[in-house]
Subunit: 542 residues, 2 copies
């Protein structure tokens, strides 16, 4: 595999992904494995319009498939006149299309939601968006090659999936989804099957050798390791098309979602992402002194559906009044500098905006320091903006509440009066931030969520990750660390959750850790754990 | 003209529109003339999915042009190979397309914004949306007839305008705008030139004989009395394309907008409308008793850009938690009942939603009566929702803050304990509602806005509308009633503002009344009035 960095990170040793070289600066959100990560927010924004591949966030449900370019095949079937199987070389030989596209995670800023109330997913911070230059073949080109049938002939959706048996969920273990045929076939939607990211073949974590890129959509629909394309009259029936990437209404709990089957309600699917923004500067714990001059507040913003970001604003009075920031449009610049004349012309007239913007505003330091909080929000071209409050939903999806820093008085190292900025929380297991996790607010809720583990009865014994790993390797049972506590899960797990791996995330909710586990284990462990059946052996040593 | 009702409304007598028969139930928002109106909210919602033409809101900038079907011509020119002039009969002879489309006013619910702070526009209530079945020819059909040039050949926009010299603004006095060529030419955007509304030729107020319908867009771009279509490489340069239908940022006042020319910033144009909703039941002043059983809360919701409304919700706790309402999708039903097989198939697969929905939820009366307020909000398919607070802007556009009723204890007529519901405010000059107008909160601001008329120095003399009208008819001068005060405007108006008409709106801001006036009078009156130069003669008798 192409090297993103020089060597394999120590944390990947002993996992099925030990062959992939990953940047050690990435913050791991679900322990060591499977690999789900985002970069520090400041690194992401400071890298500029195009995100270096090595710090592009990653969402893996399981181990990364080891695929060889020459062995890979892409099947196109269903409502096409000439079903075909393509080699990668055949795909590359078709006319190519290259363009910058922002790749947004539907779970971006889920940690804030999890702080409000525990949900089903792990704790993304605010750096699960990234922008790459993707190169590939238009999906429409491939489908036309195969004689795609018209809508009149029944071809209404295009379904995609990765390798079978990749994951222990769904009927064939593949990750898949679908899009409407209009989106697939109309050129100004720019849907491509990408084999290059930022000028190089895809990295294994990003779908080598082929992934679909659907500009404007959430990343969860941009299937990696793409193997199978089928034109159908109905939406995909893939497990992940229904049981992931949905915003269920506020009142729907995990239990109700399953019992009343909210998953198949077509209204709650996420495709194009809502309007998003976050603040990069000041960063968490940064100190500003109330001296003369200005401080440059900075951040990013993005909207799905090709909608332009038209306003980025900050507020120093809890959202009562807002001041306009300057917007830097990297996408327009990219087309000017790198686009062919045709691409430049198309960019001007296609009316679609596929990329994030960076924004900045110079504020008087004295004014900034005189405030209690600093917020940002953005607006899309249809004048939708971000709400002031989190709209909690059980999957913790699409949190686009106005991003909010608190400002506190402090002293600088030299004893001067200063003010430090506190972000709401930090990605994954990192402590810090002004949001108070639910368990600190509601000990009763914590008690219930720990499944009957009375916090007063947790043994004081401490175990290190190494000790737990050693036990497991010696097959003395299957112990897992969940939310800082160590449990003997032997009664419900007959093998170690991915071999040699200990779930050691820490973080604030146990649900975070389960999200990365294959389904059968997840169910077993969650149910038993919730029932207080797993013996608690002690605490995790940090 | 086709009769909407049996006779001309008395209020139209003596105005240039005295030949048009209008429904007397319509609430006039800018006095008698020009005609700007909306129906009572309950009538609008109770009429169901399709709004009867006679209660469809109307926005007229001036008098309605008297056009004869056989005389009307539509010119198509610019970047087309065969410029042409069409008669109405020729347009009707082309293949037709008929479909239901919701027609939303960008100023819907502006009165709430005006209550927060006076803006530039008059006070729409929450009934400036309506849905009709429109029939016409696809714009793409007409343009193809004329050999429209491709984008590569420079054809990027389609400009439209109504009759020249219709209005005293802009270089030719026409009302016009433009749309992107993709929107015009792609069939699934359904842009049509409509000559029928709800099965009959257009009414004069709605653009007889031809208007453009751009599904998803605000009504302000759906040019009436359409005369001229031009394919261009640039956006329309029409006055109204820039100086109307914009959302300027919060901090931009009318003065800054002009001085710094915010009007030509391409980011602030309104095309597709943001997500909207309002509550019809309980209506203003309705009383509910806290007895057993449920009360059905009802309303409408709509989103632009073809986006589906996926959630309608109500909150009884100031927006902290929300409960899902049931959605009735009239559009899907319409296609089932009235669509051809082709239309039905297209509706299923086009992925566009052009119509509002009606929603309802049965709430326990006791729970409803136990709350302090009742709010609603809706969500679009990209998971954008309505903010809790008004994002004030100088034109008072696109107010989509969550619609909010206050609940107060009272007694029913029979002496029982009951609770009455208070809407934020009522359309146009109607008094009532919990929102406190700015002038009651800030007497200083009022003093400034009254242009130097010291409230303590207003004569106690009272005049009725009839008395003022009589004076004006006898040519004793030109008196006008503005915001409850009577002024002698003879020094700035050399004729009565539209003959025989007294501006008698009352309402909460004088700006309301001026918005509907032709420009020269508006400027003269506003400037003089602001300078405190108009002699104040007394108060308007109610």
């Amino acid at each position: 595999p192409r090297q993103l960095v020089d060597e394999v990170d120590g944390r990947d040793m002993g996992t099925p992904d030990a062959w992939i070289k990953r940047d050690p600066s990435l913050i791991r959100l679900t322990g060591r494995h499977p690999f789900n990560c985002e970069p520090p927010l400041k690194d992401l924004v400071d890298a500029g319009f195009i995100t270096p591949t090595k710090i592009h966030f990653v969402r893996n449900h399981g181990k990364v498939p080891k695929i060889k370019w020459e062995d890979h095949r892409v099947t196109v079937k269903g409502l096409v006149n000439n079903p075909r199987v393509f080699t990668m070389d055949e795909i590359v030989s078709l006319p190519s299309h290259e363009l910058p596209v922002t790749f947004p995670c539907a779970g971006n800023r889920r940690k804030e939601e999890n702080m409000v109330k525990k949900g089903l997913g792990f704790s993304w911070g605010a750096a699960a968006h990234a922008t790459s230059v993707w190169k590939g073949v238009r999906l429409s080109t491939l489908l036309k090659e195969c004689g795609v049938k018209t809508k009149e002939q029944g071809g209404k959706f295009v379904c995609f999936r990765g390798p079978k048996k990749e994951l222990p969920k769904g009927k064939d273990g593949s990750y898949g989804t679908s899009i409407a045929i209009d989106r697939a076939m109309q050129d100004n939607w720019d849907v491509i099957l990408a084999y290059e990211q930022n000028g190089k073949p895809l990295a294994p974590d990003h779908g080598f050798p082929l992934r679909i890129i659907i500009p404007g959509f959430i990343g969860g629909r941009m299937v990696k390791w793409l193997q199978h394309i089928e034109v159908t009259s109905k939406e995909s029936d893939n497990h992940f098309h229904y049981y992931d990437n949905r915003v269920l209404p506020n009142e729907v709990t995990a239990e109700r979602a399953n019992e009343e089957d909210w998953w198949h309600n077509p209204d709650f699917i996420i495709n194009d992402i809502n309007i998003q923004s976050a603040i990069r500067s000041p960063e968490h714990k940064e100190i500003v002194t109330p001296t003369e001059g200005t401080y440059t507040v900075k951040g990013y913003a993005f909207a799905g559906g090709g909608r332009k970001v038209i306003r980025c604003e900050v507020s120093l009075d809890e959202g009562r009044t807002w001041t306009l920031a300057k917007i830097k449009r990297g996408e327009a610049e990219w087309y000017k500098q790198h686009g062919s004349p045709e691409q430049q012309r198309n960019y001007d007239s296609r009316g679609k905006h596929w990329c994030w913007v960076h924004w900045s505003i110079d504020l008087e330091k004295k004014r900034l320091c005189g405030a209690k909080e600093l917020r940002c929000r953005a607006w899309d071209q249809d004048h939708n903006t971000q709400p002031l409050h989190i709209a909690w939903n059980v999957m913790g999806m699409l949190n686009n509440s106005s991003y909010r820093l608190r400002i506190h008085e402090t002293k600088t190292e030299s004893g001067e009066k200063g003010f430090w900025f506190e972000h709401p929380c930090l990605a994954g297991p990192q402590p810090g931030g002004w949001m108070v996790p639910e368990e600190e607010v509601r000990p009763q809720a914590l008690y219930a969520s720990l499944g009957g583990v009375d916090p007063r009865k947790i043994p004081d014994t401490k175990f290190t990750v190494a000790e737990i790993e050693a036990r497991n390797k010696e097959q003395k049972g299957v112990w897992v660390a969940i939310d800082g506590l160590v449990f003997d899960a032997s009664s419900v797990l007959d093998e170690q959750p991915p071999k040699g791996v200990v779930i050691t995330i820490g973080g604030t909710t146990y649900a975070q850790e389960f999200a990365g586990l294959p389904k059968p284990r997840e169910v077993a462990l969650t149910n038993k754990f919730q029932g207080g059946k797993l013996p608690c052996k002690g605490k995790l040593s940090k």
